[in-house]
Symmetry: C2
Subunit: 206 residues, 2 copies
Amino acid sequence: MRMSQLSEVTGVPVPTIKYYVREGLLAPGTRSLPNQASYDESHARRLGLIRALLAQGQLSVAAARRVLDAIDSELSLPEAFEIAQHATSEQLDPASVPEGALDRLDGLLAGWRYLPENPGRIGAARILATLVEVEQRELSAFVTRYAEHALGVAEADLDEVDARPDRASKVATVVIGTVLGDALFAALRRVAQEHVTSLRYGQAEP
Amino acid sequence: MRMSQLSEVTGVPVPTIKYYVREGLLAPGTRSLPNQASYDESHARRLGLIRALLAQGQLSVAAARRVLDAIDSELSLPEAFEIAQHATSEQLDPASVPEGALDRLDGLLAGWRYLPENPGRIGAARILATLVEVEQRELSAFVTRYAEHALGVAEADLDEVDARPDRASKVATVVIGTVLGDALFAALRRVAQEHVTSLRYGQAEP
């Protein structure tokens, strides 16, 4: 199909499609006539993925390109995870985390295997330090419960990856799941909060 | 203490403190001399909270003000939850969600009590539709597992609220927990993904 049809099918405006091609997010169409390129289903699917990463995953164009490059590459799964994690995590300097907070977090996650530079480790330690400061109370039991559920979600993530038939689709699932999983979980947590609030305090009808 | 000391204690620059006072996020100091205001511990704690909402919760100044107003007000808990949820959720038009996705999500969350306009419901339905489109596969079991863990996290959230001694601190915990809980969970999920990847595929040393 031509670019105008691709735009119609996907709902993405032609100038936006041209921008994605220029930025290297979307492969150019196959040249069919000197002045005409032709696009297929794979372009339409890729456009859906680009929109998901940018709009729902809130990635920058540069971060989306890194993530899409990971999907297109011959990376191993742990490498793909690392790229997806870094694309979706603030770059945090471990030195920005209050002293003791990293040790406290590592203590709560005893038995877990991860590298000290895991971006989630530094981010979680910083939030833990903030929560303790702002709330002025002990939060170990609370964080431990969060960690147990984070482990359950990570197992669901990895089961999805394992169920995919080949390396390319496994890597795609790693990347898409890492980026969109945060947003999915946060949204479901809001619905669950209303449900639990309603059970405990009475509110809202089923 | 004077504003310069408040700045030293908290690490927040004086012009930033003045900006927060002007924007109504921080109460002005008590006027001690005609040309001098005095600040106390409560100002320092509030500054910590403001920084947490803006930097780690990634709220806009306007959203942070709504959330802080909720803490200062006489709101009931369900009302405080609603404000915190809306401040941290994209404003989504239900009509922007592909047909059938809301019904599919409601089916997966059968038995939960929530209002149709819950922002998490609309957000989760939209992400579910995107995932199905991009991944081209059935995801009911996956979303159900996410939902079970979201329920567990919401219960941890509400247990924290229940443990607080009075209405004001309960409301503060609702608001702080809703805003920072997303970031905490996302960070822990990244650590858990590395842990589970390492168990299944071998990588990283404890």
